[in-house]
């Protein structure tokens, strides 16, 4: 069993008027086999949490710790975190022209596993994962995220999740901008990943819509850079009805 522990995490960003604190003491523990939903209004710091876990240079951790099976994640470089078993499905995947999807996937898989995948099984695995996510074959020869539609980018993030097979997946608003068919396809992918057992999912979302397809074991309401309330999936139902008005004073 694996554990991802976030303890009293404080994170700030550099602004023109000096550093601004976004995360104000986040405590959260995800064990493998669990799916946690983090829900919150815009600007509550949800994405900052996601990017801070992955080690984006824009965010500065001022105090607190993040441990993956007791290992200090914050001391690791971005690539070390990924190789340790953390995966961030990004809200806005970055375009990298001139690097093909197939080259990228093979390079990432080799880096994460520490050895090149066996060619025959790899080609088959990629094909199968693409088929399950309803991704066309010619996709592999396209430039990474370049000119992809919003839906294609999100499917491609989940394709990587399934192929790289990390210990913990952080999904940053993977549902945003998806139509209902794409949402179902992407949710199925996340559920397949979670069903491998021994996997943890941290699902960050603004809306409850995706929770019809991915059932969370725990729901955390995120407001003002920290967890304001925690509960089971019934908390999501309450948010569905009332929105975030109880937490922020105005409908969000």
């Amino acid at each position: 069993m694996s554990t991802l522990e976030i303890r009293d995490l404080h994170v700030s960003v550099e602004t023109e008027s000096g550093p601004k604190e976004i995360l104000r003491g986040v405590d959260l523990t995800v064990n493998s086999g669990q799916t946690h939903a983090i829900m919150g209004p815009n600007g509550s710091g949800k994405s900052t949490l996601a990017y801070s876990l992955a080690g984006h240079p824009k965010y500065t951790v001022t105090s607190g710790e993040v441990l993956l099976d007791g290992e200090d994640v914050l001391a690791m470089t971005v690539d070390e975190r990924a190789r340790a078993g953390l995966f961030l499905a990004m809200q806005y995947p970055v375009e990298v022209p001139g690097v093909s999807v197939s080259n990228f996937l093979r390079t990432a898989k080799t880096a994460v596993d520490g050895e090149a995948p066996k060619l025959r099984t790899w080609v088959k695995d990629v094909k199968q994962a693409m088929d399950q996510l309803a991704i066309a074959d010619d996709f592999a020869e396209r430039d990474l995220n370049t000119g992809f539609s919003g839906g294609e980018k999100k499917r491609h993030e989940i394709l990587q999740l399934e192929l790289l097979n990390p210990k913990f997946a952080v999904l940053d608003e993977t549902d945003s901008g998806l139509d209902i068919d794409a949402l179902r396809v992407v949710s199925d992918g996340v559920n397949r990943f979670a069903a491998n057992g021994d996997k943890g999912v941290l699902l960050i979302t603004h809306y409850t819509r995706i929770l019809r397809y991915i059932k969370p074991d725990f729901v955390h309401v995120f407001v003002g850079g920290r967890v304001a309330e925690e509960g089971g999936s019934e908390l999501a139902e309450k948010l569905e009805e009332k929105g975030y008005v109880d937490y922020v004073g105005t409908p969000a």
Binding site: A54, G55, H56, P57, K58, T77, V78, D79, R81, A82, R83, L88, M90, P93, V94, E95, V96, P97, G98, V99, N103, F104, T107, A108, A111, V112, D143, L144, N145, T146, Q160, L164
Partner: protein, 405 residues
């Protein structure tokens, strides 16, 4: 723009601030002196708008009055059997058929001095199966030489022509590219000169009705290489893609100038030039001028220049200019960015477990591969990638550009 700052400019419209010092035709700021008579073009001194980036002392007098009567070069031709390649006299009517009139002294001098013309003709309706490759190999940079090439893509022909330059030379030339109705032509000019070469080249493209031209300039070698591409449309419906790739090493000056003249309705132009620089005093210049005349209704144009500064001490200048004289267009825009490789791209790759140095290598290779793929000529793609690899290997020992965040 300097090496240690990443700068971005993105506009749909920019005010032109570059008076050309030319006679006022009551028109565009891009107006320049156009004349076949060398005497009409005064010797530039380096203060002129068109020459302000160019190190005049390294021009070997090509812009002044150095004789252009050298013949220290060899030309070899590997043509598709359906393509006609001939050496003809300067009086041949194909010379001047693009409508080009020399717009600077070097071009006018090359026009006056070139005693032969290389004429490449793709006959009407011919679809070629292999690229026609003309290789010019300079044997010495001692004596300067002048050249003239006319490429004519007749009605509905479809072909690829590659002009390669290598060896040592001091060379001034004019290249006319004429596409007739419905022709599709890819023209690649590749400058892979030796370190001492100086090459000033003027290309003029005339785009026929519904013709599709892909014009590509690739510059690797040479001490100083300055290419000027002017393009206009002979009729409506033309489509021009102008691509450029350049890689400047220590001490090299590579200058890329473009002028797209939207003088006809319902045409399209798309410019993408990408450059990389490494080493002390590597200098690249990109000037992209686009003029949309009142007649050019329904056109769309976009130009983009990206420069990747790999080490400190290099300098990339990038100046896009867009002048719009009619609002009845589909779209017009430009963008220019110069800097180190993109930190967000690095983050994305590293977030998938790829180590920093490998991620950097992927991003840099991708920067070039994107453009090489767009050229779409497999016969030269492999060689271009190999040349990029060689250039990158040269730079490996140099200190990397400072981080920007």
């Amino acid at each position: 723009m300097t090496t240690d700052t990443a700068q971005q400019a993105q506009h749909g419209l920019t005010e032109h601030s570059h008076g050309a010092g030319a006679p006022d035709h009551g028109g565009s700021a891009f107006d320049t002196v156009a004349s076949f008579d060398v005497a009409d073009h005064v010797v530039p001194r380096g203060r002129e708008e068109e020459w302000r980036f160019t190190p005049m002392a390294r021009l070997r007098g090509l812009h002044d009055d150095a004789p252009l009567d050298g013949h220290d070069y060899e030309v070899s031709v590997d043509a598709d059997p359906k393509v006609v390649v001939e050496t003809v006299e300067a009086t041949d009517p194909r010379r001047g058929s693009s409508g080009y009139v020399p717009n600077d002294r070097v071009s006018a001098r090359a026009w006056a001095e070139a005693d032969k013309v290389l004429a490449i003709t793709i006959p009407a309706d011919v679809v070629t199966t292999k690229p026609t490759i003309v290789r010019l190999r300079g044997l010495s940079a001692e004596k300067a030489a002048a050249g003239h090439v006319v490429i004519t893509a007749e009605r509905f022909s479809q072909s690829v022509v590659v002009l390669e330059h290598e060896g040592s030379a001091a060379f001034a030339d004019n290249v006319e590219i004429v596409t007739h109705d419905g022709a599709r032509l890819t023209l690649v000019s590749l400058q892979d000169w030796a370190d001492d070469a100086v090459h000033l080249s003027h290309h003029h493209v005339s785009v026929g009705r519904d013709a599709v031209i892909k014009h590509v300039v690739v510059s690797f070698g040479g001490d100083l290489v300055r290419t000027s591409v002017t393009l206009d449309y002979a009729a409506p419906g033309g489509d021009a893609e102008l691509l450029g790739l350049y890689f400047a090493d220590s001490g090299q000056h590579l200058e890329k100038r473009l002028f797209v003249d939207h003088n006809q309705p319902n045409c399209r132009s798309n410019v993408l030039y990408k450059g990389a620089l490494q080493g002390a005093k590597a200098h690249t210049v990109w000037i992209g001028n686009v003029l949309i005349r009142p007649a050019a209704e329904g056109i769309s144009t976009y130009e983009l220049n990206r420069n990747l500064v790999l080490t400190d001490g290099a300098r990339a200048d990038s100046v896009p200019n867009l002048e719009i004289e009619t609002g009845e267009i589909e779209g017009a825009g430009h963008a220019s960015a110069t800097g180190r490789f993109d930190d967000e791209q690095l983050f994305y790759l590293m977030a998938r477990g790829i180590p920093a140095d490998e991620a950097r290598r992927l991003v840099v290779h991708g920067f070039f591969t994107e453009l090489i793929n767009k050229i779409g000529v497999p016969e030269i793609a492999e060689r271009l990638i190999a040349t990029v690899e060689r250039e990158l290997a040269l730079g490996e020992g140099l200190p990397a550009a400072a981080t920007t965040h």
